[in-house]
């Protein structure tokens, strides 16, 4: 177990950051804060994050999601009961900017999560709300991103509050949509999974055992990277990892295997790395834990903490400064590592002489 700490970056956000989203290429990052703004950062040639644009929105819970670049530069921002679709365009003065395309608002209560569907389904967006409504919107004409239609009747999640959603990533299996609930009622179903039928374009709820009893804060399907089964990370009081294997011949058609990871603290967020080998979880203890699977199961191999000191405004740490610092550190470490290797090899050499 190793512990890393990181230096904060000055974001100028005046309240809690609710969501961070990298775009498909990892060249942009959007941070959504309670201070009614979404900030978009671009990475420059020196791997520094440069503030690009601030989108002023309204108060409310906020989530951001980037669409797949095949559909253009689209950013969906959810705040309170409205989803704004932003698109990057080129203005007449030659500059780039983000403009609001359309507001989707027909939800009764605040939106808790939104995710773009896998690109195989087209440009689709799922929105789930505090009232338990789950709706899927689709933009049929990607040239005209102003028109979004509801594609299905509401999914019957039977949840009184839906907190999180996630799409499965396998290409060759029916797409699954997992929904998590943050209800406190212990008897209600906290995790609901829908299966998408490619032919009828309908979603059917799949039968599954009671996997999680505590309220779920976040869900994330692992990137499939070639696996023909699904792996779902569930952030709840503890961290759960659930493998969902498709068993077409079995009566329930899916086989669930759940692993409970000892995370010490209640988990708020989970996310996977690109190749699905590392799981990162952020918990109540304000640490980011990194989990890795090996033969003895999942284990936490690193913890990342922010500095405990508060008052970000006093620390005028420049983004670029910080990055340079990291680069230096990295280089030094790399250099040392190389030297050690070099030494060991030469030592063999000399010994044998």
């Amino acid at each position: 177990m190793s512990t890393f700490s990181s230096i904060p970056i000055r974001t100028d956000h005046k309240d809690l950051i609710q969501d961070i989203a990298f775009d498909f290429y990892g060249k942009r990052v959007a941070t959504a804060s309670l201070d009614q703004s979404v900030r978009i950062w671009n990475i420059n040639e020196n791997n520094e994050w440069v503030f690009k644009e601030e989108l002023r929105i309204n108060p409310g819970l906020q989530k951001v999601a980037w669409a797949h670049p095949e559909f253009g530069s689209l950013l969906a921002v959810a705040f309170d009961r409205i989803v704004w679709i932003y698109e990057e365009t080129c203005f007449s003065n030659g500059r780039n900017g983000w403009i609001k395309r359309i507001a989707i608002h027909d939800s009764r209560l605040a939106i808790t999560d939104l995710k773009f569907a896998p690109k195989y389904l087209g440009l689709q967006l799922v929105i789930c709300t505090q009232s338990g409504e789950v709706r899927i919107y689709e933009c049929n004409d990607i040239i005209n991103s102003n028109v979004w239609n509801k594609v299905h009747p509401d999914l019957k999640s039977n949840m009184s509050s839906c907190s999180s959603c996630s799409w499965s990533t396998c290409f060759n299996l029916p797409i699954l949509l997992a929904l998590g609930s943050d209800e406190t009622n212990p008897t209600s179903d906290k995790l609901v999974i829908f299966e998408h039928n490619e032919n009828t374009r309908q979603y059917t709820r799949i039968e599954k055992p009671q996997i999680c009893l505590d309220s779920i804060r976040s869900l994330a399907f692992a990137p499939s990277v070639g696996k023909l089964y699904h792996t779902l990370a569930i952030a709840s009081k503890s961290l759960l990892i659930c493998t969902i294997k498709s068993m077409p011949k079995e009566p329930h058609r899916y086989q669930f295997t759940t692993t409970n990871l000892d995370s010490d603290a209640s988990v708020w967020r989970v996310c996977w790395n690109t190749v699905g080998s590392i799981l990162a979880s952020a918990g109540d203890d304000r640490k980011v834990k990194l989990w890795k699977s090996n033969f003895s199961g999942w284990s936490c191999f690193a913890e990342i903490t922010g500095e405990s000191c508060s008052l970000l405004a006093d620390q005028n740490i420049n983004l670029s400064c910080m990055l340079n610092l990291y680069k230096d550190q990295n280089q030094q470490q790399q250099h040392q590592k190389n030297q050690i290797q070099f030494k060991t090899q030469t030592s063999i050499h000399t010994k044998q002489k």
Binding site: Q18, I20, F22, G26, E70, C90, N172, S277, S310, I348
Partner: protein, 953 residues
């Protein structure tokens, strides 16, 4: 006025429906009675424990007006004032059960609608009224009849409609009257001086409401048309905005929360949304409490003499409205739903995470102020919080460097099977990855077909062949200048050793082909690189050191066998081909295994000493005997099936992999590492022991285990690149088409292609798409990559791999500048579809704006943009990686929409360019549709064929 926190209302929210829209309502001093004012009626309600009870109803139809405001005198329980749109005032007299109008007629005080009436807080009889006519009047309300009252008039401005007014509730400043106007001015009056306002501030954007802070005598909250609540400090001459809260909808009403210095309630309504929030000034972005879930469409509200109870009225629907009595304890606290920590990883595995940090400093002062204000402090904490955003780059295990490295460096074409295996194993080795499987793959399938006919000598010759090929691959490496590739010297030795140790008695002779440099590791730019092994290609001799080293390794191998097998003496040698082969693969693995664990030893000196001492006592012959013994053993106990052996290989390699990491992690602990190695070796040996005593099978088919190996990469190691490349390299040899189920393959390739796009490895992506042509992949990739072209004369589509029209037999891609066929970048105009060589277009448009064909189109592309495109694709034969010599002609768009993309330079290749801009492409075509319907036809037929050179030669 004293409010008490402990005045608890234990009951739940309750409501009462009335059949008129509630324009205004007012509470009596004790907060137990309420008068609702509708369009033309009043209703008196009692507020009981858990319900409203209607007491009296009064109609005002005879006044012919709409009631705009109603106010209950704080000093006189029986007195209520009401005003209307006709500018008149009504005096209502309230008895405990009844409501009546004092006068049947109302006196008109204002020329236009009265917006607001306000009782003087200290003078029983005085009432202020502010109207649309821009006047404020101070009326002696008790005068009987009302018409006899002669009001004092405060002239604001005839055009500046009074929207709200209020006397400062502070006893010391009770002469201070403040009024807000529609044009955005805040007027300060001294009630004793009516002729002119004392001060005027503004303009802000339209004042909707004003509210004096109940305790802070200088704080004035102003609700503005632009959805802002500003808290102004009136103590200074210059009004300072000390707090500001931005709302999502236009504000309807604001009221300070009693006993909470920093909190203010706000009611707002918009086109679709109605909110009733309680804000905390310390945290102006998140409402402290939201009543949205309780009250649907709240339009107006009032604190019911308590900081915890709210009376709110809703917007009327079908002339029905509701009045609510609700409690703050039932309201939602949005901050509780906020996320304190959030984390996200980017494609390279950098971790971005934001952690909420409470601002403790502010909390303290806030708490202290509150405490001084009230002894009975509430417990609800509402803290200002910020998030720190972190980017963490130096978490090596989370990073996807290996994917990037492997995807860029592995090869599956440009070489024979053996070369590719060698090359790829080097790639894996240079990243400290598991390279053994490549060697096994090579061994298993190398010369597989002719194996039975081979003699011992021929196997020797193949080994030397492979050696020379290795050298070739090293050449490849150094030629490519892959500066990051790193091959420790000892490993090179091991590989040379491996290929030479296949049952031959003379290790020296077979490995003497390689000349080892004494100092093969160079340091350049902090990256170790492999020295040029071919630096002395003509002097083939084995240096002493490497010979010694070779022996050391053999020694090591001996130790392993002795320990685990208790070998006693030598047996006779029978070099059957198959045994030889098995031995070969076995050795390969052992050697590699040994090597692998060896590199990670920290305390390498000890190990060396150990080896050396062994080396001194042992002799070379013993080692040979060992080998003979081994061979014999395998001869005696033939394998039942070869797949068992192979699966054991796979198994053992699988076992090794997770432990590799342990080695890295435990490398400080050399003792445990030692034990680990021993255990590993034993495991490995056991695998082979299990094979002993099994029956023979001469047909070698490793396909099943090969499959298993690929699956194990995917499932256990999350490594997609290696199996993809193993499959592609394997497919160079004769292979069963259904070796791996198609749905698995599709999944692998789809995901891999997607990942390549993510990492912007466009060339690699095209290569893979070309190598694995199935319908699935084509469907997924083609529509974004390729555009069919069309002959302008014959109006027929051109085949993808050609640029010649079937009908007229002419090349479609003629440069309109030089009239020669374009083979590389074809740049064309969106409007007229004329174009040509990129460099010619640059040349032409440097001085011209019209189309070079003279068609009259003003193409006028941005000249700089063209140059940028040229910079982006400067290399000759940008896509020329295919050995068949086929090239790809690339269309470059001349639209202005691309300009910005190019400025950003985030478009690194034409693929990206097209993917990102396909919509612009169509957009433009759509816009031009009306002018030229031809274009519509061509809409989908943009040109990007794969250009076959045969057509031009």
């Amino acid at each position: 006025m004293a409010y008490f926190d402990n005045q608890e209302y234990n009951s739940k929210t309750f409501s009462y429906g009335v059949s008129f829209p509630i324009n205004s309502f007012t509470l009596n001093k004790d907060g137990n009675r309420i008068i609702l004012a509708g369009r033309s009626e009043w209703e008196l309600l009692n507020i009981d424990e858990d319900k409203f009870t209607s007491k009296s109803n009064l109609n005002s139809n005879l006044f012919n007006m709409r009631i705009t405001d109603v106010e209950w005198s704080r000093l006189d329980e029986t007195l209520v004032a009401s005003c209307g749109s006709n500018g008149g005032l009504q005096k209502l007299i309230v008895s405990p059960t009844d409501l009546r109008i004092e006068f049947r007629d109302s006196h008109i005080f204002h020329e236009r609608t009265i917006n607001k009436i306000h009782f003087h807080p200290n003078e029983r009889s005085l009432l202020f009224s502010g109207g649309q006519d821009g006047n404020i009047k101070l009326i002696d309300f008790r005068s009987n009849p009302l018409s006899s009252a002669s009001p004092i008039v405060f002239h604001q401005h005839p055009d500046d409609k009074v929207t709200d007014l209020q006397i400062n509730p502070s006893p010391s400043l009770s002469n201070q009257l403040v009024s807000g106007s529609e044009s955005g001015y805040v007027y300060f009056w001294d009630t004793r001086m009516a002729n002119k306002y004392e001060k005027r501030y503004g303009p802000f954007r339209g004042i909707v409401h004003i509210d004096w802070h109940p305790e802070e005598k200088n704080w004035l909250a102003v609700a503005r048309v632009d959805r802002q609540i500003s808290v102004l400090d009136t103590s200074t001459d210059k009004l300072n905005t000390i707090y500001s809260i931005t709302n999502s909808e236009s504000l309807a009403n604001i009221k300070w929360r009693p006993n909470r210095k920093m909190q203010i309630g706000a009611c707002m309504s918009g086109a679709n949304h109605y909110h009733l929030y309680v804000w905390d000034l310390n945290r102006p972005y998140v409402p402290y409490a939201s009543f949205d879930s309780i009250i649907n469409k709240a339009e107006n509200f009032m604190w019911r003499n308590s900081p915890n109870c709210i009376i709110a009225s809703t917007r009327a629907q079908n002339n029905r409205a509701l009045i609510y009595n609700t409690y703050i304890s039932e309201a939602q606290k949005p901050a509780e739903y906020s996320t304190l920590v959030t984390v996200e990883m980017d494609k390279m595995g950098s971790i971005a995470f934001a952690v909420g940090v409470e601002n403790e400093k502010k909390l303290d002062s806030h708490e202290i102020e509150r405490a001084s204000l009230n002894s009975d402090i509430n417990n609800d904490k509402f803290l200002i919080a910020q998030s720190n955003l972190y980017f963490n780059y130096n978490e090596p295990l989370a990073r996807s460097d290996w994917f990037y490295y492997a995807a860029t460096n592995y090869r599956f074409n440009s070489g024979t099977f053996e070369e590719l295996c060698d090359y790829n194993s080097q790639v894996a080795l240079s990243f400290d990855k598991d390279f053994k499987n490549w060697m096994i793959l090579k061994t298993l399938y190398k010369e597989n077909d002719k194996y039975d006919l081979k003699e011992e000598n021929s196997s020797k010759s193949t080994s030397s062949l492979s050696n020379s090929k290795q050298v070739q691959s090293y050449k490849l490496l150094s030629n490519e200048n892959c500066s990051t590739i790193q091959i420790p010297f000892s490993q090179v030795t091991a590989i040379g050793d491996t290929s030479s140790s296949d049952g031959s008695e003379d290790g020296t002779s077979s490995s003497s082909d390689i000349e080892f440099d004494d100092s093969p590791i160079l340091e350049r730019n902090g990256n170790p690189i492999m020295a040029n092994l071919e630096s002395n290609p003509n002097s083939f001799k084995l240096s002493k050191e490497s010979n010694e080293k070779l022996n050391t390794y053999r020694q090591n191998e001996n130790i392993f066998i002795t320990k685990s097998n208790n070998v006693n003496t030598l047996s006779q040698l029978d070099n059957h081909d198959e045994q030889n082969f098995i031995n070969n693969s076995h050795m390969t693995k052992i050697e590699d295994e040994e090597e692998y664990s060896f590199i990670h030893y920290d305390n390498i000196d000890n190990l060396c000493d150990f080896f050396k001492s062994n080396h001194d006592t042992e002799n070379f012959a013993y080692h040979e005997n060992e080998q003979h013994y081994q061979n014999n053993q395998y001869l005696q106990n033939n394998f039942k099936s070869q797949s068992d052996l192979a699966s054991s290989i796979v198994q053992s390699t699988k076992q090794i992999d997770p432990k590799d990491n342990k080695h890295v992690l435990n490398n400080n602990n050399n003792i445990s590492g030692d034990v680990e190695t021993q255990r590993l070796l034993e495991d490995l040996n056991n695998c082979f022991e299990n094979q002993l005593g099994l029956d023979d099978g001469l047909k070698i088919n490793f396909d099943e285990s090969f499959c298993q190996l690929l699956h194990s990469y995917i499932d256990d190691q999350n490594d997609l690149v290696t199996p993809i490349f193993m499959y592609l390299v394997r497919s160079l040899k004769k292979m069963d088409k259904n070796l791996i189920e198609a749905n698995y393959l599709d999944e692998w390739f789809v995901q891999y292609i997607e990942l390549l796009a993510k990492f912007e490895l466009w060339n690699q992506r095209i290569e893979i798409i070309k190598a694995y042509r199935t319908d699935v992949i084509q469907n997924l990739t083609q529509n974004t990559l390729l555009y069919t072209s069309m002959c302008g004369k014959c109006k027929i589509t051109i085949k993808q791999d050609s640029s010649i029209c079937r009908e007229c037999k002419t090349n479609v891609f003629l440069c309109s500048y030089c009239h020669l066929p374009v083979k590389r970048l074809y740049a064309w105009c969106h409007a007229c579809y004329h174009g040509g060589h990129l460099n010619h277009m640059i040349k032409w448009f440097k001085t011209n704006t019209n189309c070079p064909t003279g068609c009259g189109c003003t193409c006028s592309p941005n000249y700089n943009q063209l140059e940028q495109i040229n910079d982006l694709f400067p290399s000759q034969n940008f896509y020329n990686f295919d050995s068949n010599g086929a090239k790809m002609v690339i269309g470059v768009l001349l639209s202005k929409t691309l300009e910005s993309k190019l400025k950003q330079k985030d478009t690194k290749s034409i693929d990206d360019l097209l993917i990102n801009n396909s919509e612009h492409l169509f957009e433009l075509a759509g816009k031009k549709k009306s002018q030229n319907h031809q274009i519509r036809k061509l809409q989908k037929n943009f040109i990007l064929p794969i250009d076959d050179e045969k057509n031009h030669v």
